[in-house]
Structure formats: C-alpha cells, structure tokens
Symmetry: C2
Subunit: 267 residues, 2 copies
DNA sequence: GAGTGGTCTAGACCACTCC
DNA sequence: GAGTGGTCTAGACCACTCA
C-alpha cells in the first residue's frame, strides 16, 4: 500500500514511491487518501468475484493485515462501501456482500407504492410478453456503451400489483453478458429479476439513474395496463450500473398511477 | 455528557448516572452512543438558532472541550450532520450551517432538468398568481400537523424555464410561522423561496418527501402551462420538514415534461 | 504561521452473535 | 468464550485557507 502523494508515515510500506515527487511543481499532485485506495482494492475484489453476493468478507483485522494498514483505515473504507450499498455490516457477525436475494432489498429499485396500503398490496405477479434478441438501436447502444447493431436482449413484461396491471416494462440487456437468458428461464424463476441476473449471470446492479416524465397512453399501452387511451402514465427510464459505473441495463417503464405513486426522498 | 447505558470510561463525566443500571434486567436498556448524543445537542443548537444558516460553527476542538468528549467523537457527530446536509465542512476554513442562499444548493429540491441542456435553460422566471390566507382543509391540516380550520398561507405560482411555463405550484404554509409574508414581499424577493423562508421567517427546509404521479391536465391547468387539455403532467406532492422532522410546507406541483424530466438516482 | 478540517495509527473496551 | 463490528480516546501529521 502506498500513498499517492505526500507521505511522512514511518512504515516502509507507506514511504515508498511517490513521497519525493509529492506537492512539488510537477503535474497533478492528486492526493489520494489511503482509505480510498483500500476502497478501490475491495471494490476490485468484489468486481472480480473474490467475494460473491451474500457472502461474508474477511474481518476488518484480516483485511488490515492483508493491506498493511490499520484497522481504522479499513474501517473507513468499508464504511463508505456500506453507505454505497455494496456491503452490509452486521454487528457480531461480520461484513457481507450486498445481494438482491433479500426481502429488505427487494424494493430498493422499485419506488412505486400503493396509495393506501392494503393487505394484498404486496402480492406481485409478473407476465412476460417477450424475450428475444435484437440489434441495438443508436439510443440503446449509446446508453449501454456498446456498438450500434450489437446484439441485445429485449424483455417486455407486465407487473400486476394487487391483481391489476400497474407496470409495463421494456428492458434491454447487452447480449454477450446475458447469452443464456431465455423466456423459459424467466418464467421458471420466482425471485426478483436482479437476483436472477446476479446469481446466473454474474451481473450485479449497484446503482441506477432514472428520468421521469408524464406521457399519454397509446392505444397499445392502454390495453396492456387496462386504462383508457390517452390516460396519463408515469414514464420511468432507468439506466442501471454495475460495479465500476459500467452501464448494464436500460429499462423503460410505464407506471399506472391511479392507485399507486412513486415515492422519493429529498435531502 | 453521559452515556445512556453501560460505560466503563474512566472520565467522571462519562461514569455518572446509568452505569449501574445498564444491561441489566430492567426495562429498555436503550444504548445510545456518545456521538449520537452530541449530534442531538448540535441539532438542538441549530434548531434554537445558536448558529444561523450560513454561519461558522465552533471548531471541532472547541466543541470537544464544550461537551467534554474527544475530538473524534465530535467529528463523527458532525460527519453524520454533514451527510444529512445540515452542516457543510470546508477544509481549512471550518464547518458551516447549510443555507439555501447558495448556488450549489439552489436545485437541491427541484429535480426537474431540461432534456437537452441549453444556454438559456438556467433562466428561471417566477410569476405569483396568488398569496392569501385560508382555513386548513382536513388534508392540509393532517399533513402540516395542525388543526383543521387553522389559518394557512396559500401561494400559487408558475415557473418559466427558458421562456416557457413549465411548473405550476400550489403551496401551503402554517399561518402562524409565516405571518408577515405577503404577495408584495414575494414579488420583491429575487432568490429561492426557501432562502426567503430561512432568512425572514427562521424556518429552514431540511428534508422532503415527494409523491409522484401522472395526471391529465384540466382545462385550467392546461391554460396555465400552455399545453392541450388532457395533456399528461407530472404531479409532485411534496411535504417538507424542518429541524426535528417537523412538517412545515405542503406543496403540489404540476410539471410539464415535454422538454424537461425529473431526474432521480437509486442506490 | 496559525487555525481548520482530513487522515492515520494504536489501543482499550463495549455490544452483539454464535458455538 | 471467541470472534465480529461499534465506540471512544489520544496523539501525530497532512492538506488547505487566510491573514
């Protein structure tokens, strides 16, 4: 472990390399704290699959020994990774890699909630309309950072909440990473989609950006969601990222918001 | 400063009080870390106006001396308050109370952005349609935690972005706290509304919850936003909170999303 | 150069989980 | 009781700001 810039630390591990060149007239000094470097190393291990979703990572003391830094420094790195939802700490047990196979995490990416919570509101049903391979349009290619015309997997589905159709989604995934995904596989799987992606295709959704707008339902869309044509629907365009801010999913959802709303917190 | 539960700290300040009763068979043990107590004390000082928005608070060393704890403990308390956007740290200068009078914070609560950023997209113009006192409806009273029929201030306005009307808002504020607010005062003020509330009425918006849905524009709404009647609009119902999770503003916005969208980040 | 927050360390003890 | 994360302390030094 070595500092990126100035360092007067007495440990030989820290004094190496850049100490002389730091803070001088040269190009960018770019000071990078030790814990940020540790954070990057841990992220790399997650990305490389050294520790898989749901698994226990080594204790803080072990990691401190491994990287040759104090436990406090590892602690700060893990604190940030936990804040980013990449890791989950559990006192007395250890630190675990976050996974989409967990009740508490299931609705982290679906912000639609019923206006008046009812007993059967939790009941969610999925109907897959389509799952086929197509060539990426300009827009899809740009979003997923692939070449136009590359193969992508398109999935279309409807979600029913409390018995009624509420969400229609059109999902695009890079073809290479999701080669083995078929309609039959989707039908058979009962958990969240992101849990399937994670365990079967090694792609974990870490973070996403959404663009929301209101649109009038087309005749087709209205039929799917069982509303009047022209009815206002919430359009949610989501770009999901995996480790290292790599875009891996583009999704366009249409939400019927007559009995549900999208909740958000500003702070 | 004393611990809420067990403590074997040698300092007399920490050993007092609860040490004997902690972790025993009695009622709730309720362990509360020291830094959480410090955080509460600092929050109280903010609430009481000891340090006003934009002002510098005492240094970590001073606060540590004041509360009789180590600097590290004060540091952790301030870290969390900074994460909650109540304080802002600036290396080399000190820690400041967050204020709405600042460029960088101005769009913290308005998540609407132009689809294609243009030069004049920043230009925002406001037109106040109404500013009067009415009696609180059941719904408004429940949201603002006041009694039905209490006086509330209602403000209606339209925001123009890049020359066109894009946002129509209906705002409700508790009458007592905003006694002196008039239409004339609103017209004269040029900064953000929340900045006015903060400096003139001592009410700082700290956090908010929003409920989004898509609705079809009524004839009146369509006229205000210069769209067709029936056009899909984004309805944003916002409840804003001040220090201590006290609700202080209810707002219903209608956003025209033909050239703008509401951006959100999931993590 | 004085003062501030930011980083890093080392060590002690506490709360929690599981064997 | 062993092992884990959680809290708290004390001290050193670094990066940054401003006078």
């Amino acid at each position: 472990m070595q500092r990126m810039a100035t360092s007067s630390n007495s440990s030989p591990l820290h004094a190496a390399g850049f100490a002389g060149a730091a803070g001088t007239v040269g190009a960018a000094p770019v000071f990078s704290p030790l814990y940020q470097q540790i954070k990057a190393l841990i992220t790399r291990s997650l990305q490389d699959g050294e520790w898989k979703p749901g698994e226990l990572i080594p204790s803080e003391a072990d990691l401190a020994a491994r990287y040759g830094v104090s436990q406090g420094t590892v602690r700060k790195a893990i604190d940030e990774l936990a804040a980013d939802n990449l890791l989950m700490r559990r006192q007395g047990r250890g630190t675990f890699v976050t996974t989409h196979h967990e009740e508490q995490v299931k609705f982290r990416f679906l912000r639609l909630v019923p206006d008046a919570p009812r007993g059967d509101a939790l009941r969610m049903e999925r109907r897959f309309l389509e799952c086929h391979r197509v060539r990426a349009s300009t827009e899809v290619a740009r979003s997923l950072d692939i070449k136009q015309g590359d193969m992508v997997l398109e999935i279309r589905r409807v979600l029913h909440l409390g018995g009624a159709p509420v969400v229609y989604e059109d999902i695009y995934l890079p073809g290479t990473a999701f080669r083995g995904l078929t309609a039959e596989r989707l039908e058979r799987y009962t958990g969240p989609l992101y849990a399937l992606f994670e365990s079967e295709f090694g792609t974990r959704m870490v973070r996403a950006e959404e663009k929301l707008r209101a649109v009038n339902a087309s005749a087709d869309e209205a039929a799917l969601l069982e509303v009047e044509s022209g009815q206002a629907l919430l359009s949610v365009e989501r770009l999901s990222f995996s480790y290292g801010d790599r875009p891996v999913e583009l999704r366009r959802g249409l939400y019927s918001t007559t009995h549900h709303h999208y909740r958000n917190t500003l702070s």
